[in-house]
Amino acid sequence: MSEQASAAIVTLTQAAKHFGPVRALDGVSLSVAPGDCIGLVGHNGAGKSTLVNLVNGSLAPSSGEIRFATGSTAHAAGVRSVFQELSLCPNLTVAENLRISHRALKGPGWRRPARAEIRQSLDAIFPGHGIDPDAEVDTLSIAQRQMVEIAIGFAPRGTAARLVILDEPTSSLDAGIADQLLEHVRQFCAAGGAVVFISHMLGEIFDVATRIVVLKDGKIVAERPAGGFTRQGLVDAMGHVATEAAEAARTARELGAEVVRTEQGLSARAGEVVGLSGLAGHGQAAALARLYLSHSSSWRAGKTPRAVFVAGDRPRDGILPLWSILRNISVSVLRQGARWGLVDRAAEAETAATWKKRIGIRTENVENPVLSLSGGNQQKVLFARALASPARIVIMDDPMRGVDVGTKQDVYAMIQAEAARGRTFLWYSTETEEIIQCDRVFVFRDGAISAELTGADITEEKILQASFEMQEVS
């Protein structure tokens, strides 16, 4: 191997990335050399995506350095990424999608080489794939789209792929096709390429990686050759240790009758706080949305709704940005206080004042616009909106996103108090610290419930075990 080829393709030295006060990545040093296949694992928010975005050049580091072997940009160094969420243009054909990322294809008759290149790449990775390069992407199945995306990642595209980052590449592939991919990754690395492989299937990681890097809280906590880890050791390395504080917060309560049961197996009893856990994007939010929609009607609002929803994505489905704090709180209870279809202003103001005090919204006047509040206080407004309604079931879709610690403590206490009064909470959270406070936890994987934990069984270790696929990939 020549000097040039054995040099690292990309080297990160103490790279850090901060988003405001959030340290998404906190000083990471990593180098990827030709022939490396790095398995990258970590829990939600460990910094995997940020690390990937630094390496592929989508984000610039806040501090530290990223050096590429050839050229100064990720593109010139032959770094490619295949993202978890599908990023093809659905209205174009397979060959036309290659054109988007392959600028060298020019002039009349560019279609012929484009077709040949993508067909060759698909044939190399997924023999017998049966995908027509002239098929429009939106006529393909999800698995076929993922295959096309991977094939575009590995295609030569004028230069040559030297480092391919695969972010959960097998999430929608069946076992046979996933095996073809793993086989190709091994060949690609043996031929001097490099791969960063992110997956929640630990079997796949052990199967293909030469080196495993464990991220936690924006730092690399372990980096060893794959043989240096056992499965258990890997799960342990991802987890925290201290969970005693949260343990104390959980209080023993009398639980009532079962009030929720879904086909998927999700169930909850009156007065229970039920947690939904697992890696982000494994069907928890969808399960909650389905549950909420089945408990509400789009035609008749009714005087007393059965369920209310606390949104985690505030700008998208929470806050009414042009309204005041008062109106943002009272929108869920307008029907209760209404007389002859008119809003009872006095009752509305009283509701808002009560909740401002109870939940501690930091504002001088509830008539202020809601956007004058900080993110955490905006979230309190959403909690107040939900809790002010008489609904017995409260559904929360990762509501603590971007909320400061103080607010979190306030809200935790509020949830426990309301649960003691017999309300049922269904709580999806990406933070283990919150999940541990629940009475019962459902862990999701690949859109289905993979484990149900209760009482003393709710530990980070058990949740991690259920979130990651432990079986061997055969």
């Binding site: 990424s81 209205n91 036309e96 999608n97 988007i100 990322s101 294809l105 020019k106």
Partner: protein, 309 residues
């Protein structure tokens, strides 16, 4: 998947054929060189305007100022381009560039295109009134000659439609840059990730819209020989209807230039067809809308069936 869902062009072609057959049935004399030219004459500027609208719809925006823009171009063509050709040409070029700048502005400031273009429609309309306060002006002679040329066998309107469809098909569907532009409509993030400057692509799409809008205004003056500040107001809605009728979609970068031209022809023909039916002009706009709804319903039913199968 049914053939109808896969080949979106079938439905526009069928609707045009049905309408044409009905017209010929009611008015057999239309089935001649002269008759066809008369039927489709005014379709040429509408087809060009529809293509212009398609360029913007292709990148998931919509242009509500197209009608007033075409009117403004018509006014400039009938005055400046006739009297001082150089100055007129420079003005038209400036209009195209301002359209491109508008596209860049809409993208950079993340403004909704619907609001910006609605606002611009008043600017264009005001300028048009300023240039030509009362109807008048004269078409440049060469333009008049071009629009009234009589090619052998097939009338000018048909030849022009075929040429417009062929050229824009090459530009939008076959060429590399056209593919990237459609990609912007399909998934802008993935195009940006591949290293394309989205601002320039948007500016290009809007610039192309401006170019075809200018061509539409010129073609219109060539046919009518004079202009008026309100000459093309209905083009805004006609062009949007034409794009959708031709198999395009409002979002997702799904457009068909050939379909758009056919859609424009269908809309023009629908107006003549209703006159042949002796329908009072008061009812014609409503009836035109009814035809539009009919075709769109048919398309929806077929695409639903296609996605279920």
């Amino acid at each position: 998947m049914t053939a109808l869902a896969r080949y979106r062009i079938i439905l526009p072609v069928v609707s045009l054929a049905v309408l044409l057959a009905a017209t010929f049935y009611m008015q057999p004399r239309a089935m001649s060189y002269f008759g066809l030219n008369l039927l489709f004459n005014l379709a040429v500027p509408i087809a060009l305007a529809t293509i212009a609208q398609m360029m913007v719809i292709m990148v998931n925006d919509i242009d509500l100022s197209l009608g007033t823009f075409v009117s403004l171009v018509a006014c400039i063509t009938a005055t400046f381009l006739h009297d001082t050709p150089l100055l007129g040409a420079a003005m038209l070029l400036a209009l195209i560039l301002s359209y491109a700048a508008l596209g860049a502005l809409i993208h950079t400031l993340e403004l909704p295109a619907i609001v910006v273009t609605l606002g611009m429609s008043f600017v264009w309309g005001g300028l048009a009134l300023f240039i030509l306060p009362s109807p008048g002006g004269t078409s440049p002679v060469w333009l008049r000659t071009l629009m009234t040329v009589k090619p052998p066998f097939v009338p000018m309107a048909v030849v022009a439609s075929v040429i417009i469809a062929a050229v824009t098909h090459l530009l939008v569907i076959r060429s590399g840059i056209g593919t990237v532009l459609r990609g912007v409509g399909g998934n802008a993030r993935s195009v940006a990730r591949a290293g394309w400057p989205l601002v320039r692509l948007k500016a290009l799409a809007y610039g192309l819209c401006g170019l075809f809008g200018v061509l539409a205004g010129m073609a219109l003056v060539g046919l009518t020989t004079s202009a008026d500040a309100n000459i093309a107001l209905r083009y805004t809605l006609l062009s949007i209807a034409g794009v959708i009728l031709g198999g395009g979609e409002f979002i997702g970068g799904k457009v068909s230039p050939t379909g758009a031209v056919i859609g424009a022809l269908t809309l023009t023909l629908a107006a003549s067809f209703l006159s042949f039916m002796r329908l009072s002009p008061d009812w014609q706009i409503g009836a035109q809308g009814a035809i539009l709804i009919l075709v769109l319903t048919a398309r929806l039913i077929f695409s639903r069936k296609g996605s279920v199968a």
